[in-house]
Symmetry: C2
Subunit: 413 residues, 2 copies
DNA sequence: TTCTTTTTTTCGAGGCTCGAAAAAAAGAGC
DNA sequence: GCTCTTTTTTTCGAGCCTCGAAAAAAAGAA
């Protein structure tokens, strides 16, 4: 059963709602906030004057667009960039990136680095992450700023409490409790999230008109990842980050997957699987560790040039993704799909077989209604999602403590 | 964005919470309610005295168990059975059942009937349902009782707003707007739900210690159904009741399914699929319309007696369910499973292949932790879930209304 | 300079929850 | 049988919160 609502939670929740309204709209007036939240003008007035006094909001004094309208002009409110800063950490194959972002969402400092994640020792990998984070925080500390939260996105499976990376394709080391480790080193709260989930979060901020309550982001790269928003909430597993679309079974006892099992969607649609098929190697052959984006583009060009094993490899990939999405749609019903990553550049080769496969599934009845959006570059999305996730955390937990708007209105028997 | 919380919503929510606490615990005292809800004693006292005055709760004056304890004895509160009545309607293959249930959950009247659902006309089917519901309501009206809500459970796919049956295996007719039709005939609000979802709801009320936040109910009968609770909430699709586990793809382009497509889990694990395989018929052969429970039990006995096509058929079923669950677990992580329906009586024949298959999937790493519970009889569960769903609706929407402050309730006191 | 119009703030009313204290209702002890 | 102790339940005032109405503020229009 859901927890009772205390009297003082009311203010906290409504504070959180006002902050959320300001973050969502850019520079809304008090009247607009009253409209979008449904609270009365008096309440918005009281809350926003509190928030301004606390240095969380500002009255925007930008160059007035001289509204041309009669009456007292609206005063735009905006997030105070100096109210807080957060850190984003993105760890993926052979790559680490850390950025400092201010409260309004602007990147104020960043650092990137190539790493040999596959061959590094456990301590080496952890050390690099911690060092880069500490370096960046030290920079900001010397500038007199306070970092309030660290959001980390990793390729791989994280636990459902967002504390640890459980498994990843980027290194053989497992169960790395990044949250504990980085908190220990910095004293700042940390969450660890799956990269595809952060892509989904980013898409919602970026294109709310398309990605609103229900949608799917599929990452096509060396492996296959997925982030999903259902009924307005980021979908996660019961024990882990979940949504391991790439490891749904496409063909029982089929092709060898990077995870060691057989027949996963990824074993047909991951870069290594397409490469393996195109080179006419056996499905039992061990997957390559990495294939450059350039090589994949070249392979796609060959496939486009004419029929042959290359084209067939992309077709097989489309088939696997199509049947996988079909099974997924049997569970959740069809939803808009964003195709993200290098694989998106070859989506023209993948789509026909994909749609043909979906047509053969329960989701097929709405095949025409299913639309695919293409976004080749995943890294900016991961960063952006990570940023928004961390900032929303600050919004809700630090400036409006105790409230949990996600649980609002839910009370299922 | 979530809607703002108004000041008067506070009381309404806390009223709903108190009612829920009383329904969950049997006969809790005010002190116990304060403990379980986290509200203060004064608040509980105020709310419960309101609810008693309104005739929703009663002070239980049962034969005191003479608590043996010092101090003022606790006064148990209970739901007033006369506060309301609800109707449950269960429509499945060749069978219709209607029951009247009082506010405390006790069945006060029921009626069942065999129907030839497969061959009936659309209007005939609708007419039978409406007639039986109206007959039962008329009975209660003459007894001076007021029915406040009707909950209907149907085999098949319902829409996500719980208004209509979209598709069903029990008749060729589709898109029957049962909610509108029955509301029109009775003037009482109706919801239409998927039967397996109601099984999940029932399991949570029946065994909360096992089925709490995350679990799955799989119905093995002529077709394969599923109800799922994730993070404490009943899982539904974005547009329909969702969770069509039976129509996830087990083998692309494989055996012919009742739905007309190929390779669905159901095409290997539904009664008709097991039967077809056991009789060594082609996988392309059209599914039988119905197979009696007796025939299925006999088939299972033959399979138990020794190796042969019968045993192999059950093995194939286990394999299909296992790979299907494996794919599902890739998305949501492993969770407790309840196996419901006639297929549960043959679970000994199914389980080995099922576990072997799961072992080959992403869910396999926790294979030993996955536990299966057996419940052969689905009908009582469907009724019970339907009952609790409807009663909870009454609890939340009628006695603790969310939006309309003009509602009569409190002024009557 | 004086209306209009629109936004924002102020102010009092009405509710809600909470903690503390009081009242109620039993058993325990003599 | 009477008084003490313990536990549950109710009462009461304090402190918040939201809301509507009215007032104040800040512009353009006349």
């Amino acid at each position: 059963m859901s927890v009772a609502i205390r009297h003082d939670d009311l203010r906290k929740r409504n504070r959180a709602m006002v902050i959320a309204a300001v973050r969502q709209a850019q520079q809304p007036s008090r009247t607009e906030i009253a409209g979008s939240t449904g609270l009365s003008h008096s309440t918005i007035s009281a809350i926003s004057s509190d928030l301004i006094a606390e240095g969380i909001l500002l009255e925007a004094k930008g160059p007035e667009a001289s509204s041309q309208k009669r009456g007292r002009p609206q005063v735009a409110l905006e997030l105070n960039p100096d109210a807080a800063e957060i850190v984003t950490v993105v760890l993926s194959l052979n790559f680490l990136s850390v950025a400092i972002v201010d409260y309004s969402g602007k990147v104020v400092s960043e650092e990137e680095r190539k790493l040999e994640t596959l061959t590094m020792s456990r301590d080496g990998l952890i050390g690099e992450c911690v060092a880069m984070v500490c370096r960046q925080i030290a920079l900001r500390k010397s500038a007199g700023r306070r970092v309030m939260r660290i959001g980390m996105a990793v390729q791989g499976i994280t636990d459902s409490t967002s504390r640890a990376m459980l498994w990843t394709p980027i290194t053989a080391h497992t169960h790395i409790a990044f949250a504990d480790i980085i908190e220990e080193a910095t004293g700042i709260p940390v969450t660890v999230e799956n990269d595809c989930n952060m892509i989904a979060v980013a898409l919602r901020w970026r294109k709310p008109e398309r990605y609103h309550n229900d949608f799917i982001a599929v990452l096509l790269s060396h492996g296959i990842g997925m982030g999903m928003v259902l009924k307005g909430e980021l979908f996660t597993g019961t024990q882990s980050s979940g949504g391991e679309f790439g490891h749904m079974i496409h063909r029982p006892d089929g092709a060898l997957c990077r995870c060691g099992r057989r027949g996963c969607v990824e074993a047909y649609a991951g870069n290594y699987a397409i490469w393996r098929k195109a080179k006419q190697a056996s499905e039992d052959e061990a997957p390559l560790a990495d294939i450059s984006d350039g090589d994949m583009r070249m392979l796609a060009d060959v496939a486009r040039a004419g029929p042959g094993p290359e084209r067939e490899a992309f077709r097989k990939a489309g088939e696997a993704i199509g049947f996988g999405l079909g099974s997924l749609f049997a569970l959740i019903d069809p939803a808009p799909v964003a195709v993200v990553g290098i694989g998106a550049t070859a989506f023209d080769l993948i789509e026909p077989a994909l749609r043909e496969a979906i047509d053969k599934t329960a989701g097929g009845q709405h095949n025409k209604a299913i639309s695919f959006d293409i976004e080749p570059n995943e890294l900016p999305l991961i960063r952006e999602g990570c940023t928004m996730q961390a900032l929303t955390f600050v919004d809700q937990e630090i400036f409006a403590p105790g409230a949990s708007p996600a649980a609002a209105g839910r009370n299922v028997a």
